[in-house]
Symmetry: C2
Subunit: 301 residues, 2 copies
């Protein structure tokens, strides 16, 4: 398999990688006919719920920019999606965000019960690390680096789970601009930045290149979360596939709530420029990476 990042349009690239990633995920995840069938059914219900596969696409796009073969990127891409999906399953639980619907379908715990949903998330996290450990297209050195990166991005004190914990704490007290940035950088940004960095690592990026990719990933993660906050205020329910305005009702710390809508739009422009600038500084063909920035900045859902 070659690499598919020569297509420079982000929308086409996401569509193409989604097919690849879905096929690979189907191979990696136990069948729902295999015991324990209910658990595997719950995992598949959430993994194959129509996600955009944005984090896997980022592994593939950045890796491809560094000329890595798609075949070497694909399992790592799937591992990021497994971690992302487990986090959605647990986020939706009654004691967390208490969401009944995601992408217009019942959430995992509504469909399979809370206990099975908790276990489905737990199993997906284990499977993510198992997938990378077993990826024989990568040297053991690279596998260890990817696992270190993914576990840091997923955990605490500076990864996704710590971002969630800070977000929870924020519901009961006032969050200032700096605290909000930290929530966003960790809750959403850590995994997005980690996906970019892992693509670069598999592609053999040197330290300077990895630093440029980190700047790209951090800003792209921030852009993703700020646009998400804004869409929650401005978008229609049908465009979002979920109920808008939910963040405000849950007293979530969001950009519009802390900064206002106009300042949020200006911040989106600034972060967009930073992300594109970081992409250009990588000194590799950066059209696709910039196109991804534009796609996120201009998204309507």
């Amino acid at each position: 398999m070659g690499n598919i990042s020569t297509a420079i349009n982000a929308k086409q690239f996401l569509a193409a990688t989604r097919l690849l990633v879905d096929t690979e995920l189907d191979q990696l995840i136990p069948k729902e006919t295999d015991d324990p069938a209910r658990l595997h059914g719950a995992i598949r219900w959430s993994v194959f719920a129509g996600g955009k596969r944005f984090r896997p696409a980022l592994v593939l796009a950045v890796g491809g920019t560094f000329s890595a073969a798609t075949d070497q990127l694909l399992r790592t891409a799937c591992a990021f999606e497994m971690i992302h999906t487990y986090s959605l399953i647990h986020d939706d639980l009654p004691s967390m965000d208490d969401d009944d619907l995601r992408r217009g379908r019942p959430t995992c715990h509504i469909k399979f019960g809370e206990a099975t949903a908790i276990l489905a998330g737990d199993a997906l996290q284990a499977l993510a690390f198992q997938t990378i450990a077993a990826d024989e297209t990568l040297s053991t050195e690279i596998r260890v680096r990817i696992i270190a990166e993914l576990s840091r991005a997923a955990g605490t004190p500076s990864g996704m789970v710590s971002g969630q914990a800070r977000d929870l704490d924020g519901e009961s007290r006032t969050v200032d601009a700096a605290a909000l940035d930290q929530i966003h950088l960790q809750k959403t940004g850590a995994l997005i930045c980690g996906a970019a960095r892992c693509g670069a690592t598999i592609g053999g990026a040197n330290d300077d290149e990895l630093e440029a990719v980190t700047g790209y990933g951090r800003n792209l993660g921030m852009l993703f979360q700020i646009t998400d906050d804004l869409l929650d205020v401005t978008a229609s329910a049908s465009a979002m596939g979920k109920t808008p305005g939910k963040d405000a009702r849950a007293s979530k710390a969001t950009y519009p709530a802390v900064h206002g809508i106009d300042a949020t739009r200006r911040q989106i422009d600034a972060v967009r420029q930073s992300a594109s600038g970081a992409a250009k500084s990588i000194n590799r063909p950066a059209e696709l990476l910039i196109s991804i920035v534009d796609l996120i900045a201009d998204r309507e859902s």
Copy 2:
């Protein structure tokens, strides 16, 4: 650091490894003064709740039997304890076993709330893999093998989470002897057997030796769970530190429920013999490993 498995008495060995493991866990886990403080407090509440550190001791005992240095075993030992602790936190949740007390103290969700308890478990699982990935006392080849082993033992379709899922399914239907063995082998046995195998792997065991260790670990895991089932029926609350009889009221599939108490005692003897026999077949000094079998078989809590 040398290796501490020359002490052949299992009780002394567990006490000695507990000190080592607790000191290392304290280094590996973020401080509760570090943000997000509530999350880290919840993790530490559950990790330092007075556990026996049985799985870490098994990594150290089997590894020591194969002459591995304690220093090379210690992080892997801690990683197994992190996975074990996360599973206890999630098991205790209201939608799972709904336990308010563990070892005489409030469970994590009672003390810190359900959302934080879910996140604490999630973070501990990530930290387990991060710990092994970062263990520079081990070659990258060994680290990848340990991560593969731990993730398989923790996940699905044949690890701890699938055992939990089978156990849940069993609450709503009759469980026969074969299904019960599978629940026990996965729910408790997978992590115990995995701990033994990882110790052997770090100690450089060859395939035949690893197979003998697997037999030891499987039987020891079974012994651990069957004695646990029996204690739930026969032990006093003060000896157990938790409420006996809880399994029966929760319609849990247990050995006494499926086979009766006399047959359970005979099964304990049989599994004990198998575990000791497997230990002797390793062709290394096996006194400590046999002493561990005896300790579990004769335990009163």
